[in-house]
Amino acid sequence: MTIPEIHKEFHTKKTTALELVQRAIEVIEKKEKNLGAFISLDIEAALKAAEKVDERIEKGEELGILEGIPFALKDNIMMKDKNVTCGSKILEDFVAPYDATVVERLKKAGAIVIGRTNMDEFAMGSSTETSFFKKTRNPHDFNRVPGGSSGGSAVAVASGEVVFGLGSDTAGSVRQPAAFCGVVGLKPTYGTVSRYGLVAMASSLDQIGPLARNVIDTVLVQSVIQGADERDATCVSDERNNPVYDLESIQNLGVKDLKIGIPKEYFTKGLDKRIAEKIGEAVELLKKQGAQVILVSLPHTEYAIATYYILCPAEVSANLERYDGIRYGYSAAVDSDEETKNLFDVYFKSREKGFGNEVKRRILLGTYVLSEGYYNAYYLKAQKVRTLIAEDFKKVFRQVDILVTPTTPTLPFKLGEKLDDPLQMYLSDVCTVPASLAGVPALSLPCGIVYENGKKLPVGIQLIADYFKESLLFQVGYAIEKLQK
């Protein structure tokens, strides 16, 4: 069921908000043992919130479209008085002192928080395996990863534990798990959604985005969370950042006469043939509907991962300086197992014990590329290549309206397969990183199933549009969704 359908059922009294939340809880009780999607749950509060929504229905009041809809938050988005761990030991006991803007907006819209979901530690990873707390499993095959870093939210949506989830996407952390779990995931244009209350990873790239079961639900969530916010200076406050989407046009405009670009760099030898086939089939369907398909080139695509793994660690090393064992978080100074003689010791040992390996690798790498003598060769160089990558997109969008690519080069990989080989893990983001570096919006949606060893594994198709053209992503995404039915 879509959110508009649920909304209708509330008003026609076919279902109640309480029933919907109870159903979510039942699914969680049944499946959570195998999936491990959540870090913390708000069962009691969710039931109470649902009762209040039902009272409003009883009184004949008109509900908002997201009112009474159960959702999940990635555990790096703050909700007042609740733990926010970022999947890290260093924030294990941290209690959020305020609501993130997106949480404030969703609360105001009447959506009901079911809980906070598992993630790679501080959103660093592509498999949700680097979490300090647990591993989350892919609902389509428990031996495989759900993708990451927003793996918990993707699994919660895919398994029916919630209707939608929020994630954060820095290099593909919403889109890649969406593809691996068979749901829709949006990385909005950089600066369209406020990050006030999102724990920072790489600030020039981080963006909050929705995960949902279909395109229309994604649009409805995005229109609530998007928009200017003076508490986040990087959030665009001019007319470009317009959160109003016309559902009618999204559903009716179709793809006739649209110019769809197929960038050849995304279809190289590293791409699983079965994925290439599925994308090809979708493109054929679009062609039949009157879309014009054009082969294009984004020549700097191959440099995106290298660029990202300089810029991201650099920003990480600066952003994570705040975990010092003094103001909040794990502290070796109060750990009876640790001896700390002076302030340096407190920093040194709190960070050693509080952070996991991937976080440590990126802090060290970032410290290196920003250190004296290396800044120009690495950091400045990468910032310049970032310009070239962004220009590739600007040029190509003079030629075509939208790009179609795979979301991931492979099907969901096995748990543990890439955990000890960071470079291989990094390369799994090869299709999603370029749009992040350029800041343009991208949407991943399901594009068929591949059978492997008796399991049905989802394939994701990625649509990329020019800055602030989310409505075009939704329009084409909706068309693909409809054509596949």
Binding site: T307, L423, Y467
Partner: protein, 95 residues
């Protein structure tokens, strides 16, 4: 680009991040591999390219210089491992 054990030790001090001997050995290998990979950027001629640090064209944004409510002291200290008389408590900086 190989990273030496000495360099890694220096980075560990700069980043205030203690590394065990075991970590040092593993990270030295892994970080060297990553640095080897990112070295491919050197192939590109970027002499005439401007660096990008912000993608949506925003420049310095200031809020109005007006008094606003901030986090109350009690709230701000709530997550502190150690506090004393309304302050964060820290160890001595010098031995």
């Amino acid at each position: 680009m190989a990273l030496s054990a000495k360099q890694l030790k220096h980075l560990s001090r700069l980043a205030r991040l203690k590394l065990t001997d075991k970590d040092t050995a593993i990270f030295q290998k892994q970080l060297s591999e990553i640095l080897g990979y990112v070295d491919q950027l050197q192939k590109l001629d970027t002499d005439k390219v401007e660096p990008t640090s912000q993608v949506t064209g925003l420049v310095n944004i200031m809020r109005k210089d007006s008094i606003d409510q901030s986090l109350p002291r009690k709230e701000a200290l709530k997550n502190a491992p150690e506090q004393l008389e309304g302050f964060f408590k820290v160890k001595s900086v010098f031995d």
